[in-house]
């Protein structure tokens, strides 16, 4: 016989006994595990009763569950009377817990406890501080502070490991004048130098104009002409002499004209070249642009600038709100178990293949129904598609909360829709009867129950708002209650801008913590974004850097253009008197020419007149002596 019957019998027997024992103790084990899990998550005493997992099925039910409030040990954070659960067994094989449905009944928030729900203090090693037992003993307040400090230390330790962007510090845009304040622009310096050189040349020209004394020479010549004109041309001889003198003055006029033309040409050339052109400083400008581009390199732009450039202030606010909800949800997710230690012979390499099945998160609740109460107010609702990692579960997370207050039914919902392979989370808040308003907890309520405030922020917000509003169909909220950015805006801005900004990234995950008031929140973003950005920052902000470069280039070019314009104006103003002087001289020279011409004409007339007179006298004399003679 090939089968060893005895072994088969033993194995089957052992298996049967194991299954039987497991079934018998499974409820107790699950109950203990669940109790430990809740205690660990909420850091307060948790009690779970009557767990009943149906044999050979993964459906079950729970009795009363109580979780204490760690901040107020004499009150419960919440309690439920019973719950029914249906778990997907196939997913359990992959190590994920997928709860198809869970119905929590009679959820009661913030009710008093019979006994303290504080966890017993762990025995601590003797330290120096223990010697001051008097100070420490029995002061729960100090214990609380200590615990808080420990948590803070843990968080700080974790925080140190995680790259961070502190959005709260985002305050300003990239400030180019500030960025370039310590930079000397060579192009501007070159313009200034050119301006000085031209100014010196103009001064030299001015001196030359004065030394040439053209105006004096024109005046002297004019005087001479005037003097000649005044001479009494009584006879031909004197007239011819005057004509000769006038022609002799031509040499002077020509000499003055020659000198004038020479200096005019020099002046024209200088004025023409004194207009500074951009191409004069093109080399220096190119260098300056390179210099400022160096200033705009990534290492010089810190994350707050990048965040501001990427998101803009309004989007940041929306992002903060989104982060708040993501964080709130994640805070209460079970922590993942540590990887099992490797065996000594566990060598080789794990090869990854494409994931074709839905990539499930570690914990997924497809449907969580609940009904409960807080104080005198009852509520019910449903949470759909709630996962420990929204990036791994593509369906929209929806929450519906119904609360009946004075015959008005209020409904509010939260949606988180992760986009495939992107950081992008799409958030929108629906408010059916409630208008798109903004809510926050009153400071009093926060002070009395900060834990509740954190856990059920949106729920209590709505309830409080309803309580405050309670006017038919419309909420009248006090101004100090409005501090909540609503979803449509968040959805559109987040979806468009963040997706665009992060479209090159895959598997980017984000966790945040928020502190301070909603009106002035401080957000710390714990993310692998920075690690990714370390490798891909240039890609992501490439456009912004290009824009910054162009802005810087434009800034420098404008600065040079302004300097050129200013210099040219100054030089034009300096050249103006020279031009005027030359223009006056030109006019004087022209007048002198005309004066000389008119004098010559006048003298020539006198000469001609004398000649005619002499001629006539001669003719008359001849006629008298020789009768009948004709001319």
């Amino acid at each position: 016989m090939i089968i060893r019957k005895s072994a088969l019998v033993v194995i089957l027997s052992v298996s049967a006994v194991t299954v039987a024992i497991t079934l018998l103790v499974s409820n107790m084990l699950i109950q203990t595990q669940l109790q430990n899990l809740l205690t660990k998550q909420f850091k307060a005493k948790a009690e779970v009763n009557d767990v009943d997992l149906h044999p050979f099925g993964l459906d079950g039910s729970m009795g009363k569950v109580e979780v204490a409030n760690k901040d107020k040990p004499m009150r419960n954070l919440f309690s439920t009377q019973n719950a029914e659960v249906a778990v997907d067994g196939w997913s359990l094989l992959s190590g994920n817990v997928v709860i198809d449905t869970v119905q929590v009944n009679q959820l009661v928030l913030d009710e008093p406890r019979k006994e303290s729900g504080a966890l017993p203090q762990k025995a601590k090693a003797t330290t120096a501080s223990d010697s001051t037992a008097q100070e420490d003993s029995g002061t729960s307040k100090q214990d609380g502070k200590k615990k808080e400090a420990e948590e803070k230390t843990d968080w700080q330790a974790l925080k140190a490991k995680m790259p961070q962007i502190d959005f709260s510090q985002v305050a300003q845009q990239l400030n180019i004048p500030d960025l370039t304040k310590d930079t000397t622009f060579q192009s501007v310096e070159r313009i200034k130098q050119a301006k000085t050189e031209t100014r010196e040349s103009l001064d030299s020209l001015n001196q030359k104009l004065k030394s040439n004394d053209i105006e004096t020479r024109i005046g002297e010549t004019r005087g001479k002409i005037e003097a000649i004109k005044k001479v009494n041309l009584k006879d031909l001889k004197s007239a011819e002499k005057a004509l000769k003198d006038i022609k002799a003055i031509d040499k002077n006029i020509k000499a003055i004209n020659r000198d004038y033309k020479a200096i005019k040409t020099e002046s024209d050339n200088l004025i023409k070249t004194s207009k500074l052109q951009k191409n004069l400083v093109s080399t220096e400008l190119a260098k300056d642009i390179q210099t400022v581009k160096q200033l705009a390199k990534i290492q010089n732009i810190n994350t707050k600038d990048i965040a501001m450039i990427l998101f803009g202030s309004s989007t940041l606010q929306n992002l903060q709100q989104v982060m708040h909800y993501i964080n709130l949800a994640k805070e209460y997710m079970p922590e993942s178990e540590p990887e099992p230690a490797q065996t000594t012979r566990r060598k080789g390499r794990d090869i990854s293949f494409p994931v074709t099945r839905p990539f499930e998160p570690r914990l997924l609740v497809k449907s969580l129904g609940f009904d409960g109460s807080k104080g005198n107010r009852t509520f019910s609702g449903k949470l759909l598609n709630f996962s420990s990692n929204p990036l791994r579960y593509q369906k929209i997370v929806q929450m519906e909360l119904k609360s009946k207050v004075e015959d008005n039914l209020w409904l509010v919902g939260m949606q988180i829709e992760p986009k495939k392979d992107h950081l992008a989370q799409q958030i929108s808040f629906k408010a059916d009867n409630i208008r798109e308003q903004q809510f926050k907890l009153s400071d009093q309520d926060k002070a009395s129950s900060p834990r509740n405030a954190k856990l059920l922020n949106s729920d209590i917000d709505v309830l409080l708002a309803v309580e405050q509003g309670r006017i038919n169909g419309q909420i009248n909220l006090k101004a100090d209650q409005l501090d909540f950015i609503f979803a449509k805006k968040a959805s559109s801005t987040f979806d468009k801008q963040i997706q665009a900004a992060f479209s090159t990234f895959k598997n980017v995950d984000v966790q945040t913590t928020i502190s301070g008031k909603l009106s002035a929140p401080n957000i710390n973003v714990k993310t692998n974004f920075d690690r990714k950005i370390a490798n891909n920052l240039k890609k992501v902000v490439g456009k912004q850097i290009d824009k910054a470069n162009k802005d810087l280039e434009r800034y420098v070019s404008n600065k040079v253009a302004q300097e050129l314009n200013l210099s040219n104006k100054e030089l034009a103003s300096a050249a103006k008197p020279i031009k005027q002087l030359l223009s006056g001289q030109s006019k004087d020279l022209n007048d002198l020419g005309q004066l000389r011409t008119s004098a010559e004409k006048q003298i020539q007339g006198q000469v001609n007149k004398h000649k005619n007179r002499i001629k006539k006298q001669a003719e008359d004399k001849l006629k008298k002596s020789i009768k009948g003679i004709k001319f």
């Binding site: 196939w90 997913s91 094989l93 060598k347 080789g348 390499r349 090869i351 293949f353």
Partner: protein
């Protein structure tokens, strides 16, 4: 119950009283189990088969010990074979992708080069070792042992006092 007694086992093998096929089966399965590091699903199944099938457990344990002790020598080869199967053979990628997405198959850790290599080499080793060991033992029993038993010296030895001690140690059957 399962006859796990190393001393008896050695004496039985020398005396040729055990079935060579059972010894060979145990040796082959044990080697297969010993070759793979850890306890992935297929090794657990193989271990259950080892218990259920009528094979020699002592031979299996010895074979597993041999496989483990040879691991320092074989591991580079095993990893290389596993890598070749998982990465280099494009025709198998569809199969691996399917298995990778199957929750049960993931328990076999098939995507580890070491496990895959060990599985491949171990699977090939099972028939090879089975036939090799069984034929070796068969040859030993028919050729060597028959001749030795016919020798006068052996006859004297069988009836000696030392032989009685040996019987006592080995257990009469």
């Amino acid at each position: 119950m399962f006859g796990i007694n190393p001393l008896q086992f050695i004496f039985r093998v020398i005396r040729g009283t055990d079935n060579p096929k059972e010894l060979a089966g145990g040796f082959a399965l044990g080697f297969f189990i010993g070759l793979t590091p850890g306890w992935p699903l297929h090794i657990i199944i193989a271990a259950v088969l080892l218990l259920i099938l009528n094979v020699n457990l002592t031979a299996a344990i010895i074979a597993a010990a041999i496989a483990v002790s040879l691991s320092w020598l074989l591991d580079p080869l095993i990893t290389a074979v596993g890598g070749w199967l998982l990465i280099d053979i494009s025709g198998l990628q569809g199969l691996w992708t399917w298995a990778y997405n199957n929750p049960i198959m993931s328990w076999t850790r098939f995507n580890n080069t070491m496990v895959m290599g060990a599985f491949f080499i171990g699977t090939i080793s099972i028939p090879v070792l089975y036939f090799a060991v069984s034929s070796l033992l068969h040859s030993y029993q028919t050729a060597v042992l028959t001749k030795v038993k016919a020798m006068p010296f052996f006859q004297k030895l069988v009836n000696s006092k030392a032989a009685h001690v040996y019987y006592w140690l080995a257990g009469r059957d």
